[in-house]
């Protein structure tokens, strides 16, 4: 069969292939137009918006506490930190100081959420690259965290577990013991996974030197969270602008040196250990007292604007709140970490192999719910 069409196809040097939006390794509904020359990637163009629900428009008709469930659905693997950012913004604009017990509860839940989010990242990232085993271990541990969430607020994924002014519920009896039991056994699990992956030759071949981005470029492209720290920038919102009571606990910010996929892997693994360290300190010091500040029944922040951000597992998650003094936000804009981080994807994969594309998507740890909002 010597059709001209086939010949032209075989001789073609450049090809454009559509990757996703239903491809499982795109972690949702991400579509990429990939221009390749054989196995080399010449360029990538992300096409997003398949999950756009107009969250920022919906915010404008909800009361402030009514906005919280909408934030659950942005980064649905890290609903707690989404809640934390929103209530923090409203509290900042109103000048509310939350009770110390509420602040500590928020930190415990947020760090548990960081663990859960990093577990999803590790499970799927390793699975994409071909390591199937960690997937099962990670989801087993994540399930224990979701059990703790369920016991606290009744929901496992879309937690809706904070309110403006504090926390909606007191802890159930024995929750702290179960939480402590979980974090006591957790570091050994992290060590297990590291034993599977860190020195694994296949893992290193697939991740070392893949998706490199320098520190200067990372700042230029606005990367935050582990992708920024993997490039060697020691920068974390919890240290730079401490919210809740992060200034009272001790923890380190791990950084990488080469800015490649392997370093970002190491950074996240160490972050899990640091989160355990934070939770342990919080459980030790958990103060008694109310979990809710005295706030008015109807939340009406004054006229003005404020930006408040938290260190979400994916990076800096910020809320820019403009109030006109009413009971609904005039404008509530989300600074999504994943959206900004994804923008650097073409920069990171240009010149690499198609197989590396999957590794880099995994290492950016994107959630399309937050990208598209």
């Amino acid at each position: 069969m010597e059709s001209a069409h086939l010949k032209a196809f075989a001789d073609a040097e450049e090809m454009e292939i559509s990757f996703g939006p239903q491809h499982p390794s795109t972690h949702g509904v991400l579509r990429l137009m990939v221009k390749v020359d054989g196995e080399r990637i010449l360029d990538v163009k992300p096409i997003i918006g398949y999950l756009h629900r107009g969250t920022e428009k919906l915010f404008e008709r909800e009361t402030y506490n009514g906005c919280i469930p909408h934030t659950d659905r942005m980064d649905y693997t890290a609903a707690v930190t989404n809640n934390q950012g929103l209530v923090g913004a409203v509290e900042k604009l109103m000048g509310i100081t939350i009770p110390p017990r509420a602040a500590y509860l928020r930190m415990i839940l947020a760090e548990l959420q960081r663990l859960a989010s990093h577990l999803v990242w590790l499970a799927t990232h390793a699975l994409d690259i071909g390591a199937q085993t960690p997937y099962f271990y990670c989801f087993e541990e994540r399930d224990k965290i979701l059990d703790l969430f369920e016991e606290y607020c009744g929901a496992r994924l879309t937690t809706n577990c904070m309110r403006v002014g504090g926390m909606p519920f007191e802890l159930t009896a024995g929750w702290t013991d179960r939480c402590r039991a979980f974090i006591d056994q957790f570091p050994a699990k992290v060590a297990d996974w590291e034993r599977i992956l860190t020195k694994n030759r296949i893992w290193r071949e697939r991740t070392v030197g893949v998706g490199v981005i320098s520190a200067a470029d990372a700042i230029e492209w606005g990367l935050t969270g582990p992708p920024l720290r993997g490039s060697g920038v020691r920068w974390d919102i919890r240290k730079v602008f401490p919210y809740d009571r992060y200034d009272e606990v001790e923890f380190d910010i791990p950084i990488g040196t080469n800015g490649d996929t392997y370093d970002r892997y190491l950074v996240r693994m160490e972050e899990m250990r640091q989160s355990v360290r934070i939770i342990r300190q919080c459980l030790e010091r958990l103060p008694e007292g109310p979990v809710m500040a005295k706030v008015p029944k109807v939340i009406k922040p004054p006229k003005g604007e404020v930006y408040f951000s938290v260190e979400a597992p994916k990076g800096e998650l910020g809320y820019y709140l403009v109030s006109e003094g009413g009971d609904t936000p005039y404008r509530l804009h989300v600074r999504p970490a994943c959206f900004i981080n994804l923008q650097a994807l073409p920069e990171m994969v240009r010149g690499q192999l198609v197989a590396d594309l999957v590794a880099v998507i995994g290492t950016l740890d994107i959630v399309l719910g937050e990208i598209d909002r």
Binding site: E56, L93, G95, Y243, K294, E305, Y320
Partner: protein, 215 residues
């Protein structure tokens, strides 16, 4: 957060406002009335003075609220200000870029808001320009690469045109979509989008309505 907030609230309260607390027994701040931050003029703030020195006449207005400084910059000076902010003043990280719609405002319908970070002293600065309907905003992508998608989102959601942008197309809605959803006059229940995507299947006005319709 607690410390920072208390400090911010005290700093932003006008002198004399929190008086009378001295005699009352001290209450925990979470049991007391919230110390609401009050916006006040920030022309003397070091960050503003620095910018004014770098680009004379750039600051039209400066306000501080809850410890965050906002400077309003004339639209025609925007690019020069951004270049100075990044180059001379070291704001290397554009954290966020967004738009606020104020229909019917005389000074221009839209606020374009830039939120900058400087790693040297970990300080942040909000820069605002006021833009009238149909007016073009110079793109800041030559200054901060990260602005690319942010400006695309602003274009998609508000219909603001960023001049000099390398690839200004819709990003969250689809290419055939008409309207800009985050404008205040865009209906919350959505618009008829069927005709825009399948004009041969749905006659204009006859397509499915996003958000349910009226039945």
């Amino acid at each position: 957060m607690a410390e920072e907030e208390k400090g911010a609230a005290q700093a932003s309260a006008p002198p004399g406002a929190p008086a009378g607390d001295a005699a009352a027994p001290p209450k925990a701040p979470w049991e007391d009335k919230p110390a609401t931050p009050v916006p006040h003029d920030a022309s003397a703030h070091p960050a503003v003075a620095e910018l004014e020195a770098a680009v004379p006449g750039a600051v039209a207005e400066a306000v501080e609220m809850a410890g965050q400084v906002t400077v309003v910059v004339p639209l025609e000076r925007l690019l020069a200000v951004c270049q100075a902010l990044k180059g001379q003043l070291g704001y290397g990280f554009l954290v966020d870029l967004t738009v606020v719609d104020w229909p019917g405002r005389e000074a221009g319908r839209f606020d374009v808001v830039y939120w900058l970070h400087r790693h040297r002293d970990e300080s942040r600065l909000r820069v605002k320009v006021r833009v009238a309907e149909g007016q073009e905003v110079p793109s800041v992508t030559p200054v901060w690469k990260v602005a690319n998608w942010m400006e695309r989102e602003a274009f998609d959601m508000f219909g603001l045109y960023f001049g000099g942008h390398p690839n200004l197309e819709r990003i969250l809605t689809w290419e055939g979509f008409s309207g800009h959803p985050l404008r205040k006059d865009f209906p919350l229940e959505g618009i008829d989008t069927g005709a825009a995507i399948y004009p041969d299947v749905f006659p204009p006005g006859g397509g499915p309505v996003a958000g349910g319709g009226e039945e």
